[in-house]
Subunit: 266 residues, 2 copies
């Protein structure tokens, strides 16, 4: 089998990020020697998808030239305390919130490859080429291999230092996890009142698609934007039955109010 | 000019909803006799788009068979206090939060036509056919015309009573206005740290598109879902500089925690 590059890769971690990254790199032609996971079933499942070998032996990560850690931050930090890495290896992580300096006592070649997307294993039709990938490397050698890796899977490769990546991650938590939580609360309201959640999907899609053309701050609609106190009062009254939803409704409505005043659109 | 139906329509209100509804009905072949707005420029702009006549005289609404009020709830309630409607007219509103009984002392033919979508005037490529439209009518005659109106513009016409519509509206506020507010907060973080907001758009689109296939409660990702306290702690520390963002981060993270515990996925 002919590979894109002679350098080999180990993916340490077979969670959501490891899953999609390994598949994307394998599709791009990289040789993924091992998939490490503490859970052998997860490792085997992913290894079989990317023509690789599953292992639960953490020392197997030394088998490749490039080690990509797709582990939760705290797990990675624990592992790094006891790790000994042979010279020449390139160590990368995929964390939004860890600096690359977590590696600096272990290797000279290290960095981060951070794909800005929400990953779930089941989602097989994810198009990696559209996902912005942010890279940061400790030296020229690492940056060069990071560029090769990132450009082989994404059309949108950006440089970002550890501080920028941290803010990107926080922004992503708001834009993705917290907007999804708003969908969850809508789902709960639907469930309580026998409404099919799917009826909200065109609205959700339109709201998201609008961000392609116009900044969300210029695109707010609804009772809070209109300062429609009659509607807001009615909603809060109805939500009295669900105190947590009521609190959330109040605080986000307030957050919209404050910005209405600032931009003079009220 | 040949119209779809001999019955004529007045649209009272040339805001975001009136704008898109008038255009959709006109495209479907309905005869829109007048566009009323207290702002003649708004009325004229919309009237010119739908081959209609602009008016700032509220009494002109009596010129048509069907009067569709696309006004803010409080404005509509004010207008209804002084209105006298000739017999036989059909009165409809497009409000999520008003019952249809607001019309019951004025007419026998009344109802609601509620399109569940976020409307902005500038957004010209909105596809009305995919928007769920909820109808409720006071009698058979009104329900029949409501079905004709709704089916002429949407492939997804549903019956919903005033109570169901109110919950739909609250769910829509969460799914649309509040998720958009999460995008706004992400936009602010990007702005403060020189990050191009457009880099978040693939993430936003994916999060929204996931709702087509899987309920959002089964699709949460990120540090709160993983109970990754190291990352959450770091984010909260960074957000100390922005107390409002920090409070919002805390309360939505908590909202995710609570549900993690409930569904045993923690």
């Amino acid at each position: 089998m002919k590979f894109l590059n002679s350098q080999t890769i180990v993916i340490a971690g077979a969670g959501n990020v490891g899953w999609h990254l390994a598949i994307a790199l394998s599709k791009a032609g990289w040789n993924i020697k091992n998939i490490y996971s503490k859970n052998i079933r997860n490792a085997k499942k992913l290894a079989s998808r990317v023509n690789s070998i599953a292992t639960i032996d953490f020392h197997e990560i030394y088998s490749a030239d490039i080690i990509i850690f797709c582990l939760p931050d705290d797990v990675l930090l624990q592992k790094l305390k006891t790790i000994y890495i042979p010279a020449g290896k390139i160590l990368l992580h995929t964390s939004g919130s860890l600096g690359i300096d977590v590696f600096n006592s272990i290797s000279v070649n290290y960095g981060s490859l951070y794909p800005l997307q929400t990953f779930k294993k089941g989602n097989d039709d994810l198009d990696f080429s559209t996902i912005p990938v942010f890279v940061e490397g400790s030296n020229k050698k690492t940056i060069s291999i990071l560029q090769k890796l990132a450009k082989s899977i994404s059309d949108s490769v950006q440089q970002a230092n550890s501080q920028q990546r941290l803010f990107l991650h926080i922004a992503a938590v708001f834009a993705c996890n917290f907007s999804n939580q708003m969908y969850c609360l809508a789902e709960e309201i639907c469930k309580k009142h026998n409404i099919d959640f799917q009826l909200l999907v065109p609205l959700i899609l339109q709201t998201a698609m609008n961000t392609k053309k116009i900044l969300p701050s210029l695109n707010q609609t609804g009772p809070a934007k209109r300062k429609d106190m009659a509607v807001i009062g009615k909603h809060l009254e109805i939500l009295s039955a669900y105190p947590e939803l009521k609190d959330m409704y109040s605080s986000i409505t307030n957050s919209i109010f404050v910005r209405n005043n600032e931009d003079g659109h009220a």
